[in-house]
């Protein structure tokens, strides 16, 4: 009997090549190609006066130098606004190479192509660009004040005013027994995949076709962008995402300028051209995320139940808005989390600054929303002298309230209707898992060791698996191999394994016979991409549907051959058999051969198949009307709306009152992503997310100075967690299947990162008794906070810390 692999911790099929050095990332491809390098703006805001390339042209090995003046047709136009929105009233995007004005340090101004990267960088060093500096806008507060403008035709620096409301919030606040207001900040971090971006382009002059390898999360969309911008027919462009060394969001943006410029150069020069982003380039020219200012007013009753919530936010979108206002929309709509909020209004202004663009980083606005909502819950608890877990419990949406309609519009333009969930179940599990009720005991024990201990929690709901669609192709070959492909890409999520598990379970074949390909437009042309925790939900279900189509066809052909009823057949270990009748069987590989009436006996499988081939019916065509040769099927999954995963995290911190070092000593996660395809992979995703959550809470920030210079654009200065900074994580699962899709899946990719900042802020506040209103927080900032006599104190009764 074929082992049912769905739900099992199957070891990853990707791993062997990756642990032996046989993975192929973009920079591993195309030895001997010409190398591209870029001259990037050293100023945050400046007018380009002149570009002098004379000295550069003497360098031996220089092949070509491109500036904006060398761009033609669609390449000379601004880059696309990928996701327009009616509230994005002043969208602005840059050009592939800067035209006239640069808007952030790192914006590409000149592309050099040379015989190798070293030479290309020599050439870059000899290109003299003169600039006239312009006033710089850094940070949401400066953007709001609008003393200076980023874009001269957007004087208030406001790209969009996002606004949603579910009722008359001001009346509801006025009618509330209690209200409180507070302001808080969250700073910038970034995805920082270990592999930067990279592009390798080969132009085939003989058939006028272009093949591009790029480290992307959306190869089909890069393909369409290249075709449009370089004025090629779509079928003449192939885009492949090979092994990709992490993405976390930054590689969903498309097209990055380099994804157009490198192919453009390959076409113009008739030679392969290659570009690998270096780490400094990644810091100053790829995307960041997270910075927001939030002003929150909440109304609540004597029991701590929220009666009204009003959020005013400012979101720093950087210099341009190629990805629209997805991040602030996600913040606005996911902020309400697992709670029933009777009246909610959110207004977030998305503002321009002279900094790197802001596009989704794992969580994509949710960590900020969670930070707003969860810190609100803490404040209500503190104000009323209630336990923080209890206040949350009183506000949770109840299991019998699903589907629950928040009357908001999500990032996909669809209503925010939670499909299923059990939030009280999450909270119960979390309280038990972290030992919430033992906090005072532990606080006393830590105090005896000279440490200040605090505990915090945060809950979240995550809309996952947004549409519009993904597709899957499943094909059984005469060899017995099962080829599976889907268009979305992989950056380490284990799709080859998870999708193979799904096919093995649906089709009844050994997993060893299955080969999965993702992100290769040669194999599957229609796809959306890997973001928003959507791969398992979208492609997983599409592939399951495709496998079911193959199964149905296999059973139909086998029923004919075995003279049995379809309903009496099963597929097990790659063999179609009549249930309970040993010997009445046919291998699936033979069915595959039979499915094609053209059977030259190239191989043993075809020769064997002839024994099953009955005499043809002369009255019918060899391929019936409506049928097709081959044992394969393509199907698509297109959901009516997103499915909503959920979870709850708790952190226990210990603070050393001499160094103010913040040590996360315990971290507990309860996680619900519906049915789980592979629990080993899901836990891995949670572990990685938590590490990024801890990084965002305690270490990572983009330190821009007032001139818009990023002061910490290296791994020396931008502090990402090493193993020593990441706590041990304990995980408990709850499985509340989604009723929206055939496999009952919800997304799992981003969950781990969402509540990190909120729950660690809560724990630190609990430990030191001072309001934490800006995250991340460093030991120095914590030291300054506790020494500041004006720092707002948390009511002592709720923390046990003397005021």
């Amino acid at each position: 009997m074929t082992t049912k692999l769905f739900g099992e911790p199957v070891r990853r099929r990707e791993d062997l090549r990756l642990i032996t050095g046989r993975g192929r990332y973009t920079d591993d491809i195309g030895h001997g190609a010409l190398a591209a390098a870029f001259v990037r703006s050293p100023y945050a805001h400046a007018r380009i006066l002149d570009i002098d390339v004379d000295a550069a042209l003497d360098v031996e090995g220089v092949v070509a130098v491109y500036t904006y003046e060398d761009l033609y047709g669609p390449m000379a136009e601004p880059l696309p606004v990928l996701i327009p929105h009616p509230q994005l009233t002043a969208p602005r995007t840059g050009y592939p190479l800067a035209r006239d004005v640069v808007q952030h340090v790192g914006e590409a101004v000149v592309m050099v192509v040379a015989t190798d990267r070293y030479v290309a960088e020599d050439v870059c060093d000899r290109i003299a660009v003169s600039y006239e500096e312009l006033p710089v806008v850094v940070g949401v507060d400066a953007a709001r004040e609008a003393v200076h403008s980023v874009h001269s035709d957007v004087p208030d620096n406001v790209a969009a005013r996002h606004h949603q409301e579910t009722g008359d919030v001001e009346a509801a606040l006025a009618a509330s027994a209690h209200t409180l207001s507070f302001t808080q900040y969250i700073e910038r971090s970034a995805c920082m995949p270990m592999e930067g971006k990279g592009v390798h382009a080969v132009w085939n002059h003989d058939d006028s076709s272009l093949r591009v390898h790029t480290s992307t999360q959306a190869s089909t969309s890069v393909r369409a962008a290249i075709a449009a911008k370089l004025q090629l027919s779509l079928e003449k462009v192939e885009v492949v995402a090979p092994d990709v060394g992490g993405g976390f969001g930054v590689k969903i943006v498309h097209p990055w300028p380099e994804e157009l410029l490198v192919p453009m150069a390959a076409m113009a020069l008739g030679q392969p051209v290659h570009w690998a982003e270096d780490r400094r380039e990644h810091f100053i020219s790829s995307a960041h995320e997270r910075e927001q200012r939030q002003e929150i007013t909440v109304g609540y009753d004597d029991e701590g139940r929220v009666t009204a919530l009003d959020v005013r936010g400012w979101h720093d979108n950087g210099a341009y808005t190629p990805y629209g206002i997805i991040v602030p929309i996600v913040t606005a709509t996911q902020l309400v989390g697992p709670y029933a909020i009777p009246v909610y209004r959110v207004r977030i202004d998305s503002v321009y600054t002279n900094t790197v663009i802001v596009t989704p980083y794992r969580g994509a606005g949710r960590p900020q929303g969670c930070y707003a909502m969860e810190r609100t819950m803490d404040r209500i608890a503190q104000d009323l002298g209630l336990d923080r877990a209890e206040v949350r419990r009183r506000n949770l949406i109840q299991p019998d309230q699903f589907p629950y309609d928040h009357h908001l519009t999500f990032q996909d333009g669809r209503p925010v209707i939670y499909d299923s969930g059990n939030y009280e179940g999450l909270l119960d599990k979390l309280v038990a898992l972290v030992g919430w009720d033992r906090a005072e005991e532990r606080r006393a024990e830590a105090a005896a060791r000279g440490k200040q201990l605090g505990i915090g929690m945060a809950m979240y709901v995550e809309g996952t698996g947004p549409g519009p669609y993904e597709g899957g192709h499943v094909q059984v070959l005469g060899s017995g191999k099962v080829l599976v492909s889907t268009g979305l890409t992989s950056q380490g999520q284990g799709h080859e394994t998870a999708f193979a598990q799904i096919v093995a379970s649906e089709l009844g074949v050994p997993i060893e016979d299955i080969e999965v390909v993702t992100g290769d437009t040669r194999r599957f042309g229609y796809a959306v991409g890997t973001f928003a925790s959507r791969a398992a939900v979208m492609s997983g279900n599409a592939i399951a549907l495709a496998a079911r189509g193959v199964r149905a066809k296999a059973l139909r052909i086998a029923a004919d051959v075995l003279e049995a009823d379809v309903d009496d057949l099963e597929i097990d270990e790659g063999v179609v058999q009549v249930k309970g009748t040993p010997g009445a069987s046919i291998p699936l590989r033979t069915v595959a051969v039979l499915s094609n009436p053209l059977r030259y006996a190239f191989d043993e499988a075809a020769r064997q198949a002839t024994q099953f081939a009955g005499p043809g019916d002369d009255s019918k065509p060899p391929v019936a009307v409506g049928d097709a040769p081959g044992l394969e099927h393509v199907d698509y999954y297109s959901p009516i709306r997103s499915t909503f995963a959920s979870g709850a995290h708790a952190a226990v911190v210990e603070i050393d009152p001499t160094t103010w070092e913040i040590d996360v000593v315990d971290y507990a996660v309860v996680h619900d992503c519906g049915n789980i395809v592979n629990p080993m992979i899901v836990e891995g995703q949670v572990h990685g997310g938590v590490a990024q959550g801890v990084g965002g809470a305690l270490y990572e920030r983009m330190a821009y100075d007032a001139d818009g210079q990023l002061q910490n654009a290296s791994f020396m200065d931008f502090l990402m967690p090493y193993a020593s900074e990441v706590p041990d994580v304990v995980i408990d699962h709850q499985e509340t299947p989604s009723p929206l899709n055939p496999l009952g899946l919800k997304g799992a990719g981003e969950a781990g990162v969402i509540p990190g900042t909120a729950c660690i802020a809560s724990a630190i506040e609990d430990a030191v008794g001072r309001r934490i209103a800006a995250m991340p927080i460093s030991p120095t900032e914590l030291y300054d906070l506790v020494r500041n006599p004006d720092a707002e104190r948390v009511p002592a009764a709720t923390t046990g810390v003397p005021a």
Partner: protein
């Protein structure tokens, strides 16, 4: 301004047991020489300033960040990259190093980009210790503590380190 002249030098280096002769510009990083001249692309470059550890290789058995070493500096030395970590089984196959086995068993990799650096560092770290002794948490922290990974949160890398130490202890018994 005159055209810069690239000074080149011929070097002989034993890579994964095979003597290789190549001529490299003196400014060429070992990481680039391995990846682009010798086409051993298993060694990855994550930061090019010696912090992330993805490019770690062994030079005469010692872990070295190949982005901080010039190729000419390894003239006459032995370099081991991730491609040389598994042993030939003599029948056209390979026997994985215990750290490779452990990474696969413990789901210690996701995107796999940092993995070669961890594998080389861990292999050297575990081979340098008394493999008959049980590994301590302090040793695990020391071995995995210097490399960056953005995917795994390190829990399974630490687990793999313990697992590999166990495999090596068993093998020695």
């Amino acid at each position: 301004m005159s055209t810069p002249v690239q000074t080149e030098r011929a070097i002989t280096v034993t890579v994964n047991g095979v003597p290789r002769e190549t001529t490299v510009p003196v400014r060429r990083l070992l990481s680039d020489a391995l990846r682009h001249d010798l086409q051993l692309t298993g060694t990855h470059v994550g930061c090019e300033h010696g912090v992330c550890g993805a490019c770690t290789v062994l030079v005469d058995g010692t872990p070295v960040r190949s982005c901080l070493v010039l190729a000419v500096q390894v003239d006459g030395k032995e370099v081991t990259t991730v491609e040389g970590l598994a042993r030939d089984d003599g029948r056209g196959g390979e026997i994985l190093h215990p750290v490779q086995e452990a990474f696969r068993e413990c789901h210690a990799l996701q995107c796999g980009f940092c993995t070669p650096g961890f594998l080389m560092t861990m292999a050297a770290g575990l081979e340098a210790r008394d493999t008959s002794a049980d590994i301590t948490e302090e040793e695990v922290d020391e071995i995995v503590g210097g490399n960056l990974c953005r995917c795994t949160g390190y829990a399974n890398i630490k687990k793999a380190c313990r697992h590999a130490a166990g495999l090596m202890k068993e093998a020695g018994q």
